[in-house]
Symmetry: C2
């Protein structure tokens, strides 16, 4: 029997709807909408797409989205000065720094300049550190928070469950593992140096895959009935039946978005699985909106 | 064959000796020794013992140990004011807040008042959060850092190893898991809700036990040849051959200090194991000294 598809778009819509009263309260109290400042340096095509979709999502719930653009050759000092100014600006509730930054700029140093209370991506050390404590954090990294919310949305009990996270990044893998551990799931973090990935993933009742590698996890890796959360967003060529790339009318390779999980084989084994697109992605955006509202509530209180 | 005993006291002595040039450099530059302020509220007997041993260890390497004592009924505001004053005092390099605090005081709020740069126990969110990043943190929680140094001292390669941490506390279990994961060990965090502890621990090539429960892990839990780091420090009654408590000349139960691992049975299976006492304990104190020196170096630079 094919796995249940965990509808990220449905959860995202619910989370957005749930924000309405808080946004109305902020408007009433502050005389303005919550405001998210988004800082984009350069013209990375992926980042531009993200900015557009964030702007649309903000508009949809009544959050002001303020895009601050810098050319790619902006010196680090100018970017730092702008981040400090946004940090001090009482009209700005949340600050989002689009990644990747140009290589000439130390991304971590810049991220750490964002005041913790306005760090709506939850990427500063000060916010990440709160994940060690059981009470959790207010501003959790959006993708990690999305994976966690989707586990709960799928109806899983984390407490006591065998959980495996594939991917150990600072902003997704390790934070998800902390959230699971705080809820008393037994969590293993796997990564590129894990000797026998399948031995771990086939134990997992809850499997979160955040490795950034298309098709890394197949049906063979999955315990029958497991809940699978696919965090990957990979652009890959569309192939024909012979495995050759399909071309569009201009002769360019046709591309599609897939996760880290091979959906077709995984769906036949898993109990529930997030599709890509339509799984973690929309919930990640909803988490950004939720974090912005939480930051505004603290800021305006 | 009995396991090799991992000599924490030898490692601690080495770490302390290695601090000498840095301490001399600080003295030359600042005209004073590095200074650790230790704040003790109330008269918890365990804390008093710790303070004495910390004072002795500081004296041994040439760090000034400044014990600041408050009565148990000190209001939170007074403690907060003192922590703020120590934070601002240029003559203080590190601040240590003895736990437990009286119940009337929120321990976490107080810990978070310590400036990250003087947080030599590595317990503030700002320092803990740095553990998510591969470059690691300068001020790592002392016990977690001790467990990690002992793994390396035992000659283990963490990269690729199957590792299990028993205990998921914010200051020991989760930080150790982060350190292991950053070094590309495959790490599982177990705890009180883990359904089959033995199934996990018997997989572990590196096993760190930080559960705070005497004798939780026995030889049966250990993979033959594994490296076992016992973080537990538990006071238990000495028993006679019949399992009855032994009494001292005043009729009080004789007590001894044991770890979370049943040493006798574990020693017969493990490849290497830390004794208690004499394993993690002395290295934890050495980590406190190292953190104080690191904080002073930053502070005085």
């Amino acid at each position: 029997m094919a796995a249940t598809r965990i509808a990220g778009d449905v959860l995202a819509a619910r989370i957005k709807a749930d924000l309405a009263p808080a946004i109305a309260a902020i408007r009433a109290k502050a005389g303005r909408a919550p405001c998210l400042a988004s800082v984009l340096v350069g013209d990375d095509p992926g980042s531009i797409v993200y900015c557009r979709s964030q702007a649309k999502a903000c508009e949809g719930v009544g959050i002001t989205y303020d895009l601050v653009q810098f050319p790619a050759d902006t010196p680090a000092t100018a970017l730092a000065a702008k981040l400090d100014a946004l940090g001090a600006d009482p009209a700005v509730d949340g600050i989002l720094l689009q990644m990747p930054l140009p290589r000439s700029i130390n991304a971590r140093d810049m991220a750490e300049r964002i005041p913790a209370a306005k760090d709506v991506e939850g990427i500063t050390s000060a916010n990440l550190g709160k994940l060690f404590f059981y009470e959790g954090a207010a501003l959790i990294p959006c993708t990690a928070a999305a994976a966690y919310e989707l586990i709960k949305f799928a109806g899983c009990t984390i407490k006591g469950a065998e959980c495996v996270v594939v991917g150990h990044s600072p902003i997704v893998g390790k934070p998800v593992a902390c959230l699971i551990t705080n809820d008393l799931g037994t969590c293993t973090i796997c990564h590129i140096e894990t000797r026998d990935l399948k031995a771990h993933t086939t134990r997992a009742e809850i499997l979160v895959v955040a490795a950034g590698k298309a098709g890394l996890v197949t049906g063979d890796h999955i315990r029958p009935g497991a809940t699978v959360i696919d965090v990957g967003i990979n652009r890959v060529p569309c192939l024909d039946e012979k495995g050759q790339p399909l071309l569009d009318e201009k002769g360019r390779k046709k591309m599609k978005t897939v996760g880290d999980v091979d959906f077709a084989s995984a769906e036949a084994v898993a109990g529930a699985i997030t599709p890509v697109p339509g799984g973690v992605g929309p919930v990640t955006v909803a988490m950004l909106l939720r974090n912005t509202v939480r930051a505004a509530e603290t800021h305006i209180a």
